[in-house]
């Protein structure tokens, strides 16, 4: 019941906003639909926490601790982003960068994007997972090019083509998976692609085919995660799209794509027995983290900077999943949560900061504390959090990952430390003059909604200091599922 | 028994010499129809040959004996090639001795002689044509070899008669690699016989001509022989194509009797008619390539043939 609500509410929102998206009340409508979705998602989470995994509608949908946690997170960030985007988009409209028609497109596509992500998370069918991922790409392409400037069109084109090619590889991987599954499960009905069924017989699946399938699936979905060397689209799309879109891309879409990779990894590792998938995840993750941290130095655009930071963190999370084992998985899930929350709050403040300064170039943003202290503090605290300063949750997850890596694969620790250190120096040296420095920015024509920023940061802080036992238990169950 | 096969061999060569000009005439007629021009008679090549033979030959003062013997060498090699290729029957005494590689060697000999003769007089056009011809030949030969290897991979022999016999033994099986080989072969055929995407047999435009440039100094009976040799070359290529890709109707080893032979003659004529109109269609539909694009064209033929080999390795039926 809650599950159906989670799936259908955003879809309903899409139709409503496609009709009324240009009206004055559209942002409020957007927020209320997101709120309803969030409530449904929370109820679903509570139910799964109490009664264990659910399988419904002829086994087509499947909820366990792993994905329900992501559903809740997605719904929550979706809600806060909707709240943030209300004043933000209004300011963009006042600046003349958007028209009511474009706003309608934005609102409708935002909900469609949420619907596609929920479908990807909740479906039990690997084929449907692919369809949903593709739908998520398609709905965000138009969001990235919303401003219709040269740069945004170029970014959207790159995004479409790169992710399109990537996702085609994933489809080939899915076909190979089906090819192997058919032999074990038979092609009757639609059972051969159901994850739960595959998981039950994973020992009988043909290892060679699954190994090949995993390579394609990892490359395919990995493109959407932003893993190097297929990360090119990510900084462009983040920098040129509207800020709320950057926030949901970084905070949610990357997670969902990684979720798809992990689901595949569980199947494949169960089948081939050797650690090939884990090794590949570790390799790609480490490469992304190190590469992205060095690219951070060369950035001038504030949103690009944090786009690269997202690549770095997705790399770290992927690496942690590659390490495997209860502790590393626990840390990876925790890092997914805190990264989503922190990164979206950073994008919120960065968006307002560039609105106030009239530019996204970091050289043009100065003295935020003087003009609007809340934005300045938000950016400062967010950056400190994402850099892994102690009281915040990012510190605990990174600490766990580092210690596990030290124990399991000591050779990787220096690389990880280099990535973290370089990223720290690069981001901190850029953020510091933007926040302090001389006053240059103008006050905003419309008061920003900064509640989401501080709610996110407070949650991250809380996860760093005190983790509620229920939540910890939940992570532990999910970590065990991933194995 | 042996006598019969020799008679058959002899008959085949005579037939080839006799109908090769007819084949060229048929292609010219089809082209004219397709381009809605008024068509010359099918027998036009014969008339031209007769006219040329009845004239007195003029030779350049600087011509060496090489220049003079080349037409005979050309004609001779092409007749020999016609004897090797199983156009009517596979049970031929000559065919046993020589396989496809030797056939390519024969064509190469003819090409070398023609090019040397073209340069012999020392005119600009002659050496230009010779250089171009050598370039095309240099590129077309490997492609043709690959096509033949393709076929020999299928049936385990490079001798054309055994290929045909092998093919006829498994008539239902069409190997996918044959498609690639066939396309590559048609491309080589067009290039080697100075047909349209590479060269235009019907023009004497200085800047583009290849084959015609080499014949400029020839006249009368020499020219007639050279022309006849090129008709024979086209005919031979067509027969190689039939042997490799559509060997139906060729009398195979061990089947004797006049009826079979008559049937195979009818089949050959039918195939020539179809192939001629197909060639004319290709020539009508395509535009002539600049000479610098010719290597591209032939490289594609070569790659297609190699691809055929690969596909055979992957998709091989047996």
């Amino acid at each position: 019941m809650e599950l159906l609500a989670v799936l259908s509410l955003p879809l309903l929102g899409f139709f409503l906003l496609a009709l009324f998206g240009a009206r004055r009340v559209a942002p409020e409508l957007n927020i209320s639909i997101s709120l309803a979705t969030f409530i449904a998602a929370s109820l679903l989470a509570v139910r799964v926490a109490r009664h264990g995994p659910i399988l419904v509608l002829h086994d087509q949908f499947f909820v366990d601790a792993f994905n329900v946690f992501l559903v809740a997170l997605t719904a929550f960030v979706g809600l806060t982003t909707a709240i943030f985007s209300r004043p933000y988009m209004r300011i963009e409209e006042l600046h003349g960068r958007l028209t009511p028609r474009r706003l309608r497109l934005y609102h409708a596509m935002y909900q469609l994007f949420m619907a596609a992500m929920f479908l990807a998370l909740l479906t039990n069918n690997m084929g449907l997972l692919w369809v949903a991922m593709e739908a998520a790409t398609l709905s965000t392409v138009l969001l990235v090019s919303l401003y219709r400037t040269r740069a945004s069109l170029e970014a959207a084109w790159k995004y479409f083509i790169l992710c399109g090619v990537g996702i085609a590889q994933a489809l080939f991987g899915t076909i190979l998976l089906y090819f192997a599954a058919e032999k074990a499960l038979g092609s009757e009905g639609m059972t051969a692609l159901l994850w739960t069924h595959l998981n039950a017989v994973k020992g009988q699946l043909e290892p060679r085919v699954l190994g090949l399938a995993f390579v394609f699936l990892l490359v395919g979905y990995g493109t959407k995660v932003g893993l190097a060397p297929l990360h090119n689209w990510l900084p462009d799309a983040h920098a040129e799209g509207p800020t709320p879109v950057s926030a949901v891309l970084s905070g949610l879409l990357l997670n969902v794509a990684l979720y798809a990779v992990i689901r595949c990894k569980v199947l494949v590792e169960g089948s081939i027995g050797v650690a090939l998938p884990s090794r590949m995840l570790m390799g790609f993750g480490l490469l992304s983290a190190v590469l992205a941290s060095f690219f951070l130095w060369r950035q001038r655009d504030i949103k690009r900077l944090f786009g690269y930071s997202s690549i770095e963190h997705m790399g770290i999370i992927t690496f942690a999943f590659g390490l495997g084992g209860p502790i590393a998985n626990f840390a990876a899930l925790l890092h997914m949560t805190v990264h989503s929350l922190t990164k979206s709050s950073i994008f919120f403040t960065a968006g307002h900061a560039s609105q106030a300064s009239g530019t996204q170039q970091m050289d043009g943003i100065r003295g935020l504390l003087g003009t609007s202290p809340t934005i300045g503090w938000g950016l400062m605290l967010g950056s400190l959090a994402i850099l892994g300063m102690p009281p915040f949750g990012v510190f605990s997850s990174e600490f766990l990952i580092l210690t596990t890596a030290m124990r399991e694969h000591p050779g990787t620790t220096p690389l990880l430390l280099i990535a973290l250190g370089v990223a720290f120096a690069a981001i901190f040296s850029r953020v510091q003059p933007m926040v302090f420095g001389d006053k240059e920015a103008q006050p905003l024509p419309h008061s920003p909604a900064l509640v989401p920023v501080f709610v996110h940061l407070a949650l991250v802080l809380m996860l760093g200091i005190y983790m509620p036992p229920a939540l910890a238990e939940w992570y532990r169950v999910a970590a065990r599922l991933i194995g | 028994m042996r006598g019969i096969t020799f008679i058959r061999q002899f008959g085949e060569v005579i037939l080839a010499i006799a109908i090769a000009p007819l084949f060229a005439g048929w292609i010219a007629q089809c082209r004219a129809w397709m381009q809605s021009r008024s068509a010359p008679l099918v027998t036009q090549p014969y008339r031209m040959l007769r006219k040329l033979f009845s004239k007195d030959a003029a030779l350049a003062e600087t011509a060496s004996p090489l220049f003079r013997i080349t037409p005979y060498v050309l004609f001779g090699t092409m007749v020999l090639a016609a004897a090797i290729i199983p156009s009517l029957a596979t049970d031929l005494p000559f065919a046993r001795a020589a396989d496809a590689i030797a056939l390519i060697g024969l064509f190469a000999t003819a090409r070398v002689f023609l090019s040397l003769a073209a340069m012999d007089i020392g005119t600009g056009f002659g050496s230009m044509g010779a250089r171009r011809e050598m370039m095309i030949g240099f590129l077309a030969e490997p492609a043709l070899l690959m096509v033949l290897f393709n076929a020999s991979l299928l049936y385990g022999s490079t001798a054309l008669p055994s290929l045909v016999d092998g093919y006829r033994a498994h008539p239902t099986i069409i190997d996918p690699s044959v498609i690639f080989a066939a396309v590559a072969f048609v491309m080589v055929l067009l290039a080697e016989n100075a047909r349209i995407p590479i060269d235009n047999p019907a023009t004497h435009l200085e800047l583009t001509m290849i084959h015609e440039a080499m014949l400029l100094e020839y006249s009368a009976r020499h020219l007639a022989l050279v022309e006849w040799a090129s008709y024979l070359k086209l005919f031979n290529y067509a027969c190689i194509g039939f042997a490799l890709f559509v060997p139906w109707g060729i009398a195979i080893h061990g089947s004797d009797g006049g009826g079979v032979l008559a049937l195979s003659i009818v089949a050959l004529l039918g195939k020539l008619v179809v192939a001629g109109s197909a060639l004319a269609l290709i020539e009508t539909l395509s535009a002539k390539l600049r000479i610098f694009r010719a290597p591209e064209f032939l490289a594609m033929a070569f790659l297609l043939a190699v691809l055929g080999l690969l596909v055979h390795l992957l998709l091989g039926v047996r």
Binding site: L153, F160, F172, K183, D236 | P176, L304, L314
Partner: protein, 225 residues
């Protein structure tokens, strides 16, 4: 195992032949310069897919696959080429041709990709009956060749055709190697492709409005300095 692959020899033959044609068409696409020719070749590819799917449907007795074949016919032979043709007509890009990396080099690279694809499909031959191995190798080769086409082209429309050709390869893999994905998934994929093409159509107009050309060389500003 016998139940999974009840093809008789002639059916395998024809399927192999169609697979070879598909590969040949991919190479032809790689070597064509004119956009219009590419669309025609794309439609041909769709036709071959339709044929091979019906053949698999006929020989395996899975009636679902007839719907797939009909869907292919409708979408890839009729609708998409029509949309693309109208699109380039309205964009005035009918006679666009493009300068590319020289063709033999491209073809050579394509040949390498084919060898790579066949090699990659080889491990599967250990487990499968011959037919599936072959089909997967060819499908993978078609996918990689389309990928190569997307890399070597500079025009937006051609890149999209490359993208669609890649989807053809995927579809071929799905039908020939595994008797098609479940119907719902196939519908979903078809829907995604169709929507994707519509979005790209919109995109072309936006791109041309901003850049006054569909040449992607104009779109190389976003990179690390």
């Amino acid at each position: 195992m016998h139940l999974l692959h009840p093809f008789t020899v002639p059916v395998i033959n024809v399927l192999n032949l169609l697979a070879a044609c598909l590969l040949l068409l991919s190479f032809a696409m790689l070597s064509r310069r004119r956009t219009q020719r590419l669309i025609t070749l794309f439609a041909w590819q769709g036709g071959i897919l339709c044929l091979s799917t019906s053949l698999v449907a006929y020989s395996s007795g899975l009636h679902e696959l007839y719907y797939s074949a009909a869907l292919t016919l409708l979408l890839k032979v009729i609708t998409l080429p029509l949309i693309l043709r109208r699109l380039i007509y309205r964009l005035g890009a009918e006679w666009d041709s493009e300068t590319m990396v020289n063709i033999p080099v491209t073809m050579l690279a394509g040949l390498m990709l084919v060898i790579f694809a066949f090699g990659l499909a080889q491990p599967i031959s250990m487990m499968a009956t011959t037919i599936t191995r072959n089909m997967l190798g060819i499908a993978l080769a078609v996918i990689l060749l389309s990928f190569l086409m997307m890399i070597t082209r500079r025009k937006a429309v051609t890149q999209v055709i490359g993208f669609l050709a890649m989807e053809n390869g995927l579809f071929f893999a799905a039908t020939s190697a595994t008797y098609g994905m479940p119907m719902v998934i196939e519908l979903g994929i078809a829907l995604d492709v169709l929507v994707g093409v519509f979005i790209l159509g919109l995109f072309f107009f936006q791109i041309r409005e901003q850049f006054e050309s569909l040449d992607l060389r104009n779109m190389e500003n976003l990179k690390e300095e």
